[in-house]
Each structure stands twice: as structure tokens, then as C-alpha cells.
Amino acid sequence: MNSGMPPSKRFVMQFAKVVLREAIKFKTWVVLLFVVTSLVVLIAGVLSPKIYQSNVTVFADQAEPTDSATRERLTADLITSPRIIGQLVTELDLVEDPNNSESMDKAILAVISAVEIQPLGSGFIKIAYTADDSIHAYNVVSKLTDLIILDSIEANRRVSNESNAQIEKQAQAYKVEVQQAEEKLKQFNVADLVGTEKQTKEQLSATKQKIESIQLDIEETEIRITSLETQLSSESEFSAPKNPIDIDPPFRELRELIDTEKMDLASKKRRLKRTEAQLQEQLSRLERIAERQSELDELKRDYDITKTIYEGILARKEKARLSMPLDVEGLGVTYSIQEPASYPNKPMGIQFVHYAIFGPMLGFLLPFGLLAAYVKVDPRIRMPDKLSNLTDLPVLGVVPHISTPLAKRLLKSDVVFLCLFLVIVSGIYLSVAVAYQRGVI
């Protein structure tokens, strides 16, 4: 009797001893229950359906800033879209007849129900697929990833192509305009090589000087003629009325001089007239030159503007060509694989190994648990402590359980037999478990 122990510990010790004693008493049942439980659990492990899950993590990126929640939602919508899943079931041969819409719907629904989309935040999305076949699970996830990536690339390319075509069209139009402006400019320059403004202005001033000198000449000539005529008239007052035939010789000489001067004046006047006409012509030419100049400026400006626009378009085109997937308009999402599809080597949840280990454990615990419950529930007295609390009579002694040599021998032979049985069963158990685990069975 462990009288020195605290009551609770003593109770536990006594209880354990009692359970052990009952276990020895019911040893055959304990062993049988152990064997049956272990085997039942093992069989359950063999029969339990295996579920495999394959998963992939993708990163949804977007050129235009959108919040990651929107991208994740868009991704989930894309993945579960009948278009993508339909493509998937067709390509993986998951549908009997792709032309039958009913069986197609069924196959699509079956796939969608096994797909699990889990947003991990910051644009990362985990896609998982659960199936009773590891290869199938892996194939679906891989294919699904490929499909959404291809789809996003295709969508982006489509948007990109549209905008590129527009740029190309604009570029073509402006190219023509630039060429036209260039041509006009060229023609203009060729036609107006002579008579620049400066030349014309120089000619003009020369002409003006020429006119002034001619006018001075004319004035001098007229003064000379007037003085000569005055001289002539004063001389005729004295000698004129008599007879014209009797003209005095100095008088006649003067007359001739005046005639000469008058002829000279007339020629000078003609020259002036000519030069003035030249001046007029030069003035009008200068006016024309100014007009041409403004026309040229306009052409040049036109050319420059057209050319600048054209160059801008070319630059845009080049930029678009270089960074096509990024320079996308609209809501196209780009996907990249963050974590590639995993091949599920092990089934999900409880695995066969767990069953194989859990079986013997349960097989061990169950009979002892039942015995403990039996001892606890059974009202018959098994512990002397219960007795001492029952009446105020003293417990004079606790006679230990005595085994006679015969009883010991019988127990020993029983135990040996049971151990042998256990060894055989364990051998069978282990071989079945290992064989199944290795896939032999």
C-alpha cells in the first residue's frame, strides 16, 4: 500500500493497477480488440478516398494603377468564366461531347466547383484544384494557368494592335503632308531664285538717284534756254522789225544754240520718263517680293509643324513597338507565375501512413479506455480506498493478489501465445501497410 502518497496520485496508481489487472483478466479480448481495431483502421485507410490538391500562385499586374482587390476580383471572374473553363475542359478532354451544351455545362460546373481561388493580397492569387487523381489535379491547374496567361496576353495584344494601327494610319497621313509641304517649298525656291529684296532695293535707290540727276540736268538746261531766249529778245528790239531776211549773224547763231538746247532737253525728258517707269517697275517688284516672302514663311511654318507632328507620331510608334505589353490602354491585366503549379505527391488530409500509425494506437487505447470506463462504471469494489470510506470500520489489511506457480505458468503460456499471435498479426499488418504504401497492392 502506497500510504505515503497524496490521495489523488494514490488513486491514479490504484486505478492504473486495477485497469492493468482487468486487462490481464480480459487479455484475449484486449488482444483481439487491438487486432480488430488496428485492421479496421488500416482497411479504412486503404478504402478512404484520396484527395489531391495542386496549386499555383500567380501575380496579377496592371500598367494602369488599380487596387489589388479589383485585380483579384477580375482574376477570379476570369478563371471561373465559362469561356476559360470551357476551353480547359475541351483541351483536357474532360467532356464527352464538346458540342453538346448540356454535357459541356456539366463538365464546366464540375471543374468550377473544384477550383478554389484565394486572394493572398497585393495582387497575388492562389489557384487550387482538388481532385481524386493527382495527375488530373496537376493538369487542370497547369492548364488553367496557361489559359489565363495566354488569354491576358491575347487580350493585351488585341488592344495594343488596335492602338498601333491607329498610330500607323496617322503616321502615313502626316508623312504625305510633310512630303507635300516639302515639295511646295522646293518649287517655291526654284521659281524665285532671281531678285531678292536687297538687290531690288539697291536697284531702286540707284534708279532714284538717276532720276534726281536727270531732273537736275533738265532744270539746268531749261535755265540755259531761258537766258538764251532773254538775250535773243533783247537784241531783236533793236533790229527785228526791218527785215527777217536781213537777220543779223550773231542773232542767227543765238537762235541755233537755243534749238540745240531744246533738243537736248527733250531727250533728257524722255530719259527721265524711262527711268521713272523703271522705278515704278522696281517698286512693284519689291512689293511682290514681300508678298512672296510671307508666302514662303507660311510654307516653312506649315512644313515645320507637319514635320514636328510626324516625328512625334514616329516616336510614339517606336515607343509602342518597344514596350508593347506595358503600353496598353483599358483594363487588361497581365499575369506572371509567382509559384509554379505543384505536383501533389501526397494526398490531402489524413494519409495512409497516418491510418497505419493511428490504427495500432487506437487499438491500444480503445481496449484500455473501455476497461477504464468499465472499472469506473462498474459498482463492484476494486480499490481498498473505496472500502475504507464506505463504513467507519477499519480495513485491517489488503491481501495482495497471490499467483500460484501453476497460475503463473498458465498466465505465462497464455501471454506467450498472445504475444506470438500479436507478432504474427503485426507482421501481416506491417507488410500490408508497407505494400500498400509502396503501391504493390
Partner: protein, 249 residues
């Protein structure tokens, strides 16, 4: 059969199963003893002896003995040993208690088998008696010494149940029984009388015999009786007549 034949058979000592000689001597030193049975042989029958290998069981009975002697203040006593059910190990415990008392060289023990049915003490002690208690109680033919047998355990004597079992209950309640027990106790001051009695409640013997005893002990077997059965047995005999309980694993 007579005591003569028993004495003849006592010569056959190689066997444990012998008929014990009658004992009627007045003191311990004069007692006729059979050849002492070895400790191993006794242990095989779950009986204690001073030479026993497993001393823990010996100590348990010594401890019980001490407590009983404390209760009787060292005087000899008539102790009834009973239980609530059959096969509780009562006879074995009664025998071992007697043996424990007999370990003391200044004491003798007399074990009285009162099991009209399921008597196992004869077999336990290896005694093949001619007469027993019921034979003695049945008539005046037998002397008390005719039914007291030696056992192979020093200082332990034994009165078997006998063959006259039909009217056992009546015999037990007779004045002759009371006189017998009284004289057995009174004749030798160093003689301790242990009576092995059938279960309380199943038969009336225990109640009758407890009246004739100084006190009783009740054997509570492991995993066989409920608390209510124990309480009922205690109440049937009366708490004041019970020295205590013995839990038998």
C-alpha cells in the same frame, strides 16, 4: 473409521494428504505434530509460513493479527471470518489468519470449518478427516478430541465440517455448539479459535455464529461485490461485532 486408522496413516509422511491424529494434550509442548510442511509447498497453496519467500503477504497477515490482538487486549478470542459471497477467498484468509496466529510459539490456533457447502479447507490443508464438527454436534458418540486434527503447520489445529451436513444450521444454533466453542476457548488461554463461515446474507450461519464469536472480520473480494452488499453484510452482523474488513485482491 476410528482414530486408530488415522494414526496408522500418519506414518505415511511422504504424502501431504494424511489423516491427522487426534490431539487432546493440555499444553503446546505436548502437542503431537505431523511432519512440518515446507514453506514452498505451503506457498503453492497460498498459505503463509515463517519461511515464505514473499514476505509482503506474511506481513499483511501479521499486521491483521496485531490489530486483532489489540482489540482482544492480548486475550484469546473466537474470530468469525465471513464474506458477502462465495468464492471470496474467505477460507484461505481464515486459514492464513490462523496460521499467522500460530506463528507465535506461545499461541495455538484452531480453525473451525463451518462451511456446510463449498468447504475447501480440508483440501487446502491436505486433511482427510474421519469426522468433523457436524458429526460431533449430531450426537454424543464422539469426543471433542476426535474431531480436532493436526495440520502440518505447527500449532495449527483444524476441525473439519464433517459429513452430517443436512441439519447443519440447526446444529450451529444448538447449545452444544455454543458449549463447544466456549470450552475450546476456555480450555487453553493461548488458543485462538478462527471459524470459517459461509457468506453473510446467503445463509443464516454467519449471523448465528457471529453471536457465538467475540468478533468478526469480513472479507471483501476484489471486483465481486458492490458497496451496498458490503453495507448490507455489515448491518446484518452488526458493526459492533466486526473488528474490521479485509480487502482480498
Amino acid at each position: 473409521m476410528t482414530g486408530k486408522r488415522a494414526r496408522d496413516q500418519a506414518a505415511i509422511t511422504s504424502s501431504f494428504r494424511i489423516t491427522a491424529p487426534k490431539v487432546a494434550k493440555s499444553n503446546i509442548s505436548d502437542m503431537t505434530e505431523l511432519d512440518v510442511i515446507g514453506a514452498e509447498e505451503l506457498a503453492a497453496k497460498k498459505l503463509i509460513s515463517s519461511g515464505i519467500e514473499n514476505s509482503s503477504i506474511l506481513n499483511v497477515f501479521r499486521e491483521i493479527r496485531t490489530q486483532l490482538l489489540q482489540r482482544s487486549e492480548g486475550k484469546n478470542f473466537i474470530l468469525m471470518v465471513s464474506s458477502m459471497i462465495n468464492r471470496a477467498g474467505t477460507s484461505l484468509i481464515a486459514t492464513n489468519l490462523a496460521a499467522a496466529l500460530a506463528l507465535d510459539k506461545t499461541k495455538t490456533a484452531l480453525l473451525v470449518d463451518c462451511n456446510l457447502q463449498n468447504s475447501s479447507v480440508c483440501e487446502l490443508l491436505g486433511v482427510d478427516p474421519d469426522f468433523g464438527l457436524t458429526d460431533y454436534l449430531a450426537g454424543n458418540r464422539l469426543d471433542i478430541d476426535d474431531v480436532i486434527y493436526a495440520t502440518g503447520i505447527p500449532r495449527l489445529r483444524f476441525i473439519p465440517i464433517g459429513a452430517n451436513l443436512e441439519s447443519g444450521v440447526e446444529y450451529f444454533s444448538s447449545p452444544r455448539m455454543k458449549d463447544l466453542l466456549g470450552s475450546l476457548k476456555d480450555r487453553y488461554a493461548d488458543r485462538f479459535i478462527i471459524i470459517d463461515v459461509p457468506p453473510v446474507g446467503l445463509t443464516p450461519e454467519a449471523r448465528i455464529l457471529s453471536e457465538m464469536s467475540d468478533f468478526s472480520v469480513l472479507v471483501v473480494p476484489y471486483g465481486k461485490v458492490t458497496e451496498n452488499q458490503v453495507i448490507a453484510a455489515v448491518n446484518a452482523i452488526g458493526k459492533e461485532k466486526i473488528a474490521g474488513l479485509i480487502f482480498n485482491n
